[in-house]
Symmetry: C2
Subunit: 445 residues, 2 copies
């Protein structure tokens, strides 16, 4: 930021130790979880770790009837993304979700529908601290053998869905070592003190302060003791767990700089931002299935070249042997030269249902119909179109979004290039937007 | 937020004095500007007001090659939205945009392309304060009669595009009265002081502090004097204008609570949030043009009923006499029963080019073709489709996005309702997304 003073300069310096803002929060990708198993995680964390997720909020600030943690992105509640960010890590045990009594059934439904096997739902109190304490108490009841007392407990927000393993590891290990730890971020705005009449009193030097964010980690015994000792005033009016650990157990938390994706979904616009991050992450790769015909293979290669912002593989068919490819991505481009060939697409869509691949994120299947004769658009039978549409409305029940694109084959190079370019743009738009209203449409490149 | 302590309670209380987060920042709608002329603005502000917009940033934090103020939303740079938020107000004079030397030509191009008649582009310095001072100096040169010295100068950020007239009026009047004024927001996170070893030292009581945001207003003479008096250290390392007015002129700024839409576009996800706000605002109304045929009128009424989240008008034709409707919204749904009738759509699209209606925001035209016979899908002539597509690719040059939807007429009530419901969903999706890649497509309801 060339036109800035030290406050922002310092921020930029701190930031330069990290890579630019991640376009893909690792927590959304399975391969991250796969990597982790071989990596630090399991090796370094040889003690039980659990999570408490206070989710009692009513979301007044959003200006929405639904509390923000239950607002859906791609048809799935925000809180499910947050739970999944922890659940995917093998070294994390129970995730205790604390909800208001009136949302208990709703939350149980989400846990069941999204298959959150590590989640345990408990009732919260009438304030944030009371809810967290309720969550912690779920471990202290010795009768319930399903939730043994952890060594370290991570406290997080239900409305911060993008938390990466790397940070969770640092928070967890620092908490084990120091008793308490918390994520921080540089301040975006100057913080000022105001007079009681609403005038500027003084401004704080931005570089000396930080924003306290989530996740925070604690030795279970320390934070549980802090809550047992703290006052009614704290329970009612406090918000900062690090403060309780300091005041009641004398533990100065270790502070760890987190990435910008840690931000809290607070306003309605933040939901749009979260959706954009998720959609962008889901659009990073695609699998092109081209069959054996020369023209289809040629088109697949041209498309792959144009889709250079995505990681793409071209494979010949979507048979059982290619299950490996089918689980690597959630975007499939099926090129065929026979109009009726969307039956192959049907097979694939059905398979996703069996393998549960579309449970957490919608899978996009773009069926590209390569017309070898000029006549094919006109002679397209209504019956076939109807069949395609009804297939699309069937597979969408299993979270598979099916779209069709026709492209006319031509030997005129400029014309062909234009068509392929248009095919690329439409394909990218369909994959990025994942718009349910447009499934079953047969577009034209 | 039922599970929160006082910190968040207080915030909620403060917030409850305002309506829930506005879905439509007024600054995007012309009718807001129209209203304002009758309202407070011109009457209350009987002195010259100008704006300085520092836009020298390089956008490092975004992780993008393009500085964030030049990133585009709906094909238009972010800074143009910010300039427009001031330019639309009759009581605001010159808007001085301060850019780095290397972006001077780019900025002049934007000013010309978006027809920003009040904007004046000047070169910035090597820090934020130096750039603002450069902007202020543009008024002090007495030789240039185009930029007379204002009574009050508003300083804003190029990357805060949603600033409403109401707040600008408050800031301006308070600056006139008190010498300085600034927008504030409640803190979203707890602010903490850290030890030099990276541990928690203490946390600030959230309720006692505020985030200092933009816009800020000053008597021109005060802020100009403050910059003349301030040190090299301030120029190099300072960021807060309110602080300079306090330190060098003894002026305690009046602080005014602003809405959440004031937030600064800092990270890439903020661009997605800004885009979502703009698109939602553009999707609040639509004009349905139905012709005279009974079936078209019936469909128009059914569609209007389904589009209950939008403000819709149904009119009979898009002739000159309806210019009033054509300037009220940027979404048009043209229903016709004759396949070739998209010529009426053509007329309309051309008219937008003449009236400059699509210069700042893309206009969506959805051509709905009501098929009265079962055969119409099959018998659709390739020539007609080609003509429609080439029309779409022509009008998109003038920022008009043209889409087609076919719907088959039927007397079977359930079937018809399903089709109309699908038509509604597709129409809403096209209007909301404004996706350029899908123009010229003929979809099917």
């Amino acid at each position: 930021f060339s036109g800035c003073g030290l406050g922002e300069r310092l921020t930029a310096l701190v930031l330069s130790f990290r890579s630019p803002e991640p376009l893909d929060p690792g927590c959304l990708l399975e391969r991250d979880a796969e990597r982790s198993a071989d990596r630090l995680g399991c090796a370094a964390v040889d003690f039980p770790v659990a999570v408490v997720l206070p989710a009692g909020g009513s979301g007044e600030r959003m200006g929405l009837a639904t509390p923000k943690q239950f607002c859906t992105i791609l048809n799935r509640p925000l809180i499910s993304f947050t739970i999944q960010a922890f659940e995917r890590l093998s070294w994390i045990g129970t995730v205790v979700v604390v909800v208001a009594k009136e949302n208990h059934d709703l939350m149980l439904n989400i846990v069941q529908k999204c298959n959150h096997t590590k989640a345990k739902v408990v009732h919260g109190g009438t304030s944030r601290h009371r809810s967290i304490f309720s969550g912690l108490q779920a471990f202290s009841s010795t009768t319930d053998s399903l939730t043994p007392k952890p060594k370290v407990v991570i406290i997080h927000d239900a409305v911060r869905p993008f938390v990466e393993e790397d940070l969770l590891l640092k928070i967890t290990l620092a908490a084990k070592e120091q008793g308490a730890s918390g994520a921080i971020r540089p301040l975006v705005s100057t913080v000022i003190a105001t007079t009681s009449e609403g005038y500027l009193d003084h401004s704080l030097e931005r570089a000396k302060y930080r924003a306290s964010e989530m996740p925070q980690g604690f030795l279970y015994d320390i934070i549980f003791q802090a809550y047992q000792r703290c006052s009614e005033f704290d329970f009612e009016f406090g918000t900062e767990c690090l403060h309780l650990a300091l005041q009641y157990c004398g533990t100065n938390a270790k502070l760890i700089e987190g990435p910008p994706t840690l931000w809290k979904v607070t306003y309605k616009r933040d939901l749009a931002a979260a959706e954009a991050i998720i959609k962008e992450t889901l659009s990073m790769s695609a699998c092109i299935i081209a069959g054996a015909e020369a023209e289809a293979v040629e088109l697949a290669k041209a498309l792959q070249k144009n889709l250079n912002m995505m990681e793409t593989d071209v494979i010949q068919c979507a048979k059982e042997s290619n299950t490996e490819y089918l689980s690597k991505t959630r975007n499939f481009i099926h090129i065929s030269t026979t109009a009726s060939n969307f039956l192959g697409t049907l097979d694939m869509a059905k398979r996703f249902e069996d393998t549960d691949h579309a449970r957490l994120y919608p899978v996009v299947v773009v069926w590209v119909q390569l017309n070898m004769t000029k006549q094919s658009v006109d002679s397209q039978k209504t019956d076939e179109l109807t069949a395609f549409r009804s297939l699309a409305s069937e597979v969408i029940q299993g979270n598979v979004l099916l779209y069709g694109i026709q492209i006319d084959h031509t030997k005129v190079p400029e014309q062909w290039e234009r068509s392929v370019e248009r095919l690329t743009q439409i394909t990218v738009a369909l994959i990025r937007d994942r718009n349910a209203a447009l499934t079953g449409q047969l577009l034209h490149a």
